[in-house]
Amino acid sequence: MSITQMKDFQTHNLLEVENLQMHFPVKGGFFRRTIGAVKAVDGVSFTIRKGETLGLVGESGCGKSTTGRSILRLLTPTGGKVIFENEDITNVNGKRLRDIRQDIQMVFQDPYASLNPMQMVGDIVSEPIHNYYKNKNKEELKTEVMDLLTRVGLPEEAYYKYAHEFSGGQRQRIGIARALALKPKLIIADEPVSALDVSVQSQVLNLLNELQDEFDLTYLFIAHDLSVVKHMSDRIGVMYLGNIVEVADKHSIYDNPMHPYTQALISAVPDASKMGEKRERIVLQGDVPSPENPPSGCPFHTRCPKALDRCSSIKPTLKEVKPGQHVACILYD
């Protein structure tokens, strides 16, 4: 999609996430009481404008999926707000929740586990429609689903087949077709290509881009591969240990990363283009701490090459440091 197109929607926020928290209780001790929490998501805020793609990167376990699932309310957040089309959906339930899910759909990471092996592809794709439009004419439904299948690049015969008869890339297409079936406004794509081979990955990425134009979709695109995220997104949020440490448009992130973690992340991506150049790579020490026991203050200070003493006590908040570039780091206070 072109950047000019995007600007038309810039003013309209489709989704706002405010200080989202998702703490999973940890049971233990003699009486199996809650003795702690996995702070999978610990105060995440961002907005997604209509028609844009927000990329979310971060290392494994930093809370990307949890964020995505909380937005779809597959999980009930323990704190914060999720506002979709100006409606606070953090605590809606029952019928309203089901209705909202018509507008938000998800594409999953594992093309194997995300399709019910016992269902025909046609059933998989028509099920969402069936769930919401019980009385839909069978023939109509079928044509609609067939159209969808063709649209995502599958033959019509796929309707009568089972998932096991397809390759990973094709399955991911089925998953995408299912997500499209309800004509959602927002699609959360949780690492949709990380299980795929490079050549197939590019097919799926291209498809997603085309669909966005065609169906006016807004994406929350989650991935751990920075180059993929950059390719797909308009803006990028970088997550670390349940927190967003930096949000900015993709060029700022790539050309001028401000948070030390973003900087390290970008420098760590092996890049064919930089071949041969002796580049200064920032190699981080150690591993990501456990979200069950996150460091005090700035979550990154234990590995940060630029850490100051203060970092261990003050938890920085996301601030707009440059226009459109929000960073959570006291270096920029």
């Binding site: 233990g28 003699f30 009486f31 199996r32």
Partner: protein
């Protein structure tokens, strides 16, 4: 680990209590009481029986009976067997060693056979001998324990005369001597084999399949890449992994043994707890019956506990806290 065990043990108390209530009410619901059918015109008379009923408290309110039973029970007084007229505790003390001996022997046999056959079959799958072992095991798994017992007696005792068909020891031997032990072993082998046959078959197949599974694991490839000799890979790397589930079965074996002992001991007239249970069932010997039922339930609880604990001990991945 300690904490975990403690919690598990404490958790067993309400379970035991509930079971005791069930046992008590089941016993109560069972038709007749222990004096039912005590009729012998030469030795007793109706008044005596009624007198005994009163004396044994069978005419008290139910909750009083339960309270008395459970509080005595908790103090280690299991009541007096109405059939043998001695404290149930003594009765059990007499029989328990036999059952234990049978159980332990059967376990040893099971594990030895299962290990030898399972390791061979797992290391050389799809060979002739493996197929033979597999076929044999399928057969063993399909033969119900009591049929195995009947066949064993018919064949090994009656036809071949290799083993005795009843009893636990030869009277002519003096307790504690080598002969005595040999005689006990001689008497226990056939029932123990029968009792262990199914387990042996199941474990052999399990071990075999697990070894085959494990031999395709990445860590085996790593070990080979290190230059570890094949025999060490099987006997050490793979076995150590395959043994884990097998060892934890030990806990569940207790359950199987309880069920098995009931049948085997009866068929082989081996004086153990299983036989005692069935005879107390037919003679309405409720104190014995209830104690045994509760004891068996307790054993099952313990078995599960052991299984869980063993898991934690043998598998470093499981941490019990």
């Amino acid at each position: 680990m300690l904490k975990y065990s403690l919690r598990r043990i404490l958790g067993m108390i309400p379970m035991l209590f509930l079971i005791s209530v069930v046992v008590f009410f089941l016993a109560l619901a069972m038709p007749g009481d222990s004096l039912t059918g005590e009729i012998d015109p030469n030795n007793t008379d109706p008044e005596y029986i009624e007198q005994m009923r009163e004396k044994l408290g069978y005419n008290d309110p139910i909750y009083v009976q339960y309270g008395r039973w459970i509080s005595n029970f908790a103090q280690g007084d299991f009541g007096t067997s109405t059939k043998y007229k001695i404290p149930v505790a003594d009765l059990i003390a007499q029989r328990l060693p036999n059952t234990l001996f049978l159980g332990v022997t059967s376990l040893i046999i099971t594990y030895i056979f299962a290990f030898v056959m399972g390791m061979y079959a797992g290391r050389k799958p799809y060979t002739k001998l493996d197929n033979f072992i597999g076929g044999f095991n399928y057969l063993m798994l399909a033969i119900p324990i009591y049929i195995a017992g009947v066949f064993a007696i018919y064949f090994f005792s009656f036809h071949l005369g290799w083993f005795p068909f009843s009893g636990s020891v030869d009277i002519a031997t003096n307790e504690g001597t080598l002969d005595w032990w040999l005689s006990r072993i001689y008497h226990v082998i056939l029932p123990a084999l029968v009792l262990g046959a199914m387990g042996t078959a199941a474990y052999t197949q399990f071990l075999r399949n697990d070894i085959i599974d494990n031999s395709q694991k990445d860590y085996v490839r790593t070990a080979r890449a290190k230059g570890t000799p094949e025999s060490r890979i099987y006997n050490h790397h793979i076995l150590r992994n395959s043994v884990i589930p097998l060892i934890t079965f030990l806990g569940f074996d207790i359950v199987t043994l309880v069920n098995g002992a009931l049948i085997t001991e009866t068929i082989f007239t081996y004086p153990g707890l299983g036989q005692l249970f069935l005879s107390s069932m037919t003679t309405n010997d409720y104190p014995t019956l209830m104690t045994l039922a509760l004891m068996f339930s307790f054993l099952v609880l313990i078995g599960n506990l052991i299984a869980d604990l063993l898991y934690g001990v043998v598998d470093p991945r499981i941490r019990l806290d």
